[in-house]
């Protein structure tokens, strides 16, 4: 579905992503983990058109989307749940969700998605008319994911969904992601929370200072002692 080849991205004249290649197949959850500053968020932002690639190629279903404007990327079905939620704080929950469906033409489909999202996130259902800025961190994350789902994504990009959330809320979020996986939504998940990311994903790319260090099947990586030591806190079994 999505294929990234030799991507290089500069940020204020410092190159933060060096020749990264990865691909995502239909129905997969692919995770990108690594320490802070590894370039994971940068890659997501570049896919979504918020940053411009210095060189390299990004293709979606064989269509080159490297230099395409952000709103066109959304038209192609690639929708991002950004870092820090980035919800519309001055608008209501309902308006936030409706905005997620901005490009959707089929009104009935939008209504169905709306119902679906509200089923997934009952908290939102109760607070439809509330201003989004009054929500707690975890609720905002639910809203952000729900908003992205309203756009009927073919590929869902999630940028550190667990950031700033309590362990309990993090579990709630990952439960939702598990449910989405069951529904067959393809996802690219960027996370600092390595264990949860490895657990939920099919394949994982581990990034370090802008390069792909390791890649493989998540269930193998999660058992690997080297990985355990470097990213999962050593000998402690979760």
């Amino acid at each position: 579905m999505l294929k990234i080849e030799n991507l290089c991205v500069k940020y204020d004249s410092i190159r933060v992503v060096h020749n990264v290649s990865l691909d995502i197949n239909d129905g997969e959850i692919v995770a990108m983990i690594g320490a802070n500053g590894a370039g994971k968020s940068t890659i997501l932002k570049t896919i979504s058109g918020l940053l411009k690639a210095e060189s390299g190629k990004i293709t979606m279903d064989s269509e080159d989307i490297t230099r395409v404007d952000s709103h066109v990327i959304v038209q192609r079905g690639i929708i991002q749940v950004p870092e820090g939620r980035q919800i519309f704080t001055k608008m209501t929950i309902e308006e936030n969700l409706k905005l997620g469906a901005f490009l959707q033409k089929d009104k009935e489909k939008v209504e169905r998605n709306f119902e679906r999202v509200l089923t997934l996130f009952p908290i939102l259902k109760e607070r439809l008319k509330q201003t989004a800025g009054t929500l707690s961190g975890g609720e905002q994350q639910m809203l952000a994911i729900g908003r992205a789902l309203m756009g009927a994504p073919r590929l869902l990009l999630l940028d550190e969904p667990s950031m700033g959330l309590s362990p309990l809320m993090t579990q709630n979020v990952f439960d939702v992601l598990r449910q989405l996986k069951k529904d067959g939504i393809t996802m690219l998940l960027v996370e600092q929370n390595a264990y949860d990311a490895l657990e939920i994903s099919d394949r994982t790319y581990i990034l370090e200072t802008g390069v792909v260090k390791i890649t493989g099947w998540s269930r193998e990586l999660i058992e690997d002692p080297g990985i355990k030591k470097a990213y999962l806190g050593g000998e402690y079994d979760a």
Binding site: A53, E54, R67
Partner: protein
């Protein structure tokens, strides 16, 4: 070693040549070129003081001309004799009528009064968020002008005050230029200055330094206003005429423009900017009045120099926001560091100078190549976007 690092080169370009120019202007007193050079000097004073606030402290004030006006009028009040004051400022209290002070004191008074106004205004206004602060400073100019134009008894209203004694000689102006640049140079390179820069770069982080930021902002604002007041006094005693309309939004914006073009965050930028912005309009003046080229008379193009300058400003701010000098302080560093002067006695410095000079002359030959490389780099960058 690059030519600009050579101390002898710096001595020649930044000390000896300017000195020669200043001496020439001083001797040519009253002449056309002297007038321009004096204006450059005053602009340096004004722009450097504005840079303290706009470039180093993270605020953006556009009301500089207001402080100039205060300084000009205050110093005029203290240099005119009683007869003149009776004509132009009949409403002055008795003790002020007869008070005539030597020029330096009058200038100081102008600066102090400007600083006082800065405190009064700054106290409420400096808390505003960026944009609002800038608009409030424009408001300051409007208010000051309203006062100047309407308090006939104190200021002779919109007619202005004429007959200011021509005390602002080249020597005095440039002595003050050196003093001001030195003061600001030391200020910025001190802990105080670093605090200002910290405040500019990251307001939230700077708060953790344990300094009251409002006080810091206020102090920078006041120092800047003080210097501007002195500058205004100099201006007035050079032009001999002062009036509200000279210290209005257009002049204030000219100062801002000069500051940006030279480089807001660089004291040396004030020097470069002032030289350019004083000479370019002069240079373009014939165009405004209808230039004669090859026998044909071009139509009068009023406003052309403003058009060219503001277009240049837009281009500059898009492509090189930091102005011509950027963050470089090569001029002030050269003038105020001992090693520049010591180099006269050091033989090896001469050798360094000659070699780097040779090097620069050689590299002139490669300029065309370097330009084309630069262009193709830019093209590659554009494609990559």
């Amino acid at each position: 070693m690059k030519l600009k690092d050579s101390n002898i080169f710096r001595l020649i370009l930044f000390v000896l040549i300017p000195l020669a120019v200043i001496i020439y202007a001083g001797l040519d007193s009253g002449g056309y070129y002297a007038g321009l050079i004096n204006l450059v000097g005053i602009n340096i004073i004004l722009v450097a003081s504005l840079n303290l606030v706009n470039g180093f402290s993270g605020m953006f004030s556009m009301g500089h001309a207001a402080f100039m006006a205060i300084g000009a009028y205050t110093s005029a009040t203290l240099t005119l004799n009683a007869a003149q004051k009776a004509t132009y400022m009949p409403g002055l209290p008795e003790w002020l009528m007869n008070l005539v002070l030597p020029f330096p004191l009058a200038l100081l008074a102008g600066g102090i009064f400007a600083a006082i106004v800065a405190i009064l205004i700054g106290f409420p206004v400096l808390r505003f968020k960026g944009h609002y602060l800038s608009v409030a400073t424009i408001g300051l100019i409007v208010i000051v002008r309203a006062v100047l134009d309407n308090e006939d008894q104190l200021t002779n209203g919109a007619r202005g005050v004429t007959g200011l004694p021509p005390y602002a000689s080249t020597w005095i102006i440039f002595t003050i230029v050196i003093l001001v640049l030195y003061l600001l140079h030391r200020l910025i390179n001190s802990a105080y200055g670093r605090g200002l820069i910290a405040m500019r770069d990251d307001y939230v982080a700077a708060q953790t330094l344990g300094v009251n930021l409002t006080t810091k902002k206020l102090s920078a604002f006041c120092i800047s206003a003080f210097i501007a007041g002195v500058g205004g006094g100099l201006w007035g005693h050079m032009q001999s005429v002062i009036s509200g309309k000279f210290f209005y939004i257009d002049y204030s914006f000219k100062i801002v423009q000069t500051s940006i073009i030279g480089g807001m965050s660089s004291l040396s930028g004030s020097v470069v900017g002032s030289i350019l912005m004083t000479y370019i309009p002069e240079f373009l003046a014939p165009l405004e009045n209808g230039l004669r080229i090859f026998g044909t008379r071009l139509p009068e193009l009023y406003g052309i120099s403003n058009i060219i300058l503001s277009s240049f400003l837009i281009v500059l701010i898009i492509f090189r926001r930091q102005g011509i000098m950027g963050y470089s302080e090569i001029i002030t560093e050269s003038i105020f560091s001992l090693k520049t002067y010591k180099s006269v006695f050091d033989k090896s410095e001469y050798r360094i100078f000659m070699e780097s000079l040779k090097g620069s002359i050689k590299s002139i030959g490669s300029i065309p190549t370097r330009i084309s490389v630069w262009i193709s780099n830019k093209k590659r960058k554009k494609k990559g976007e």
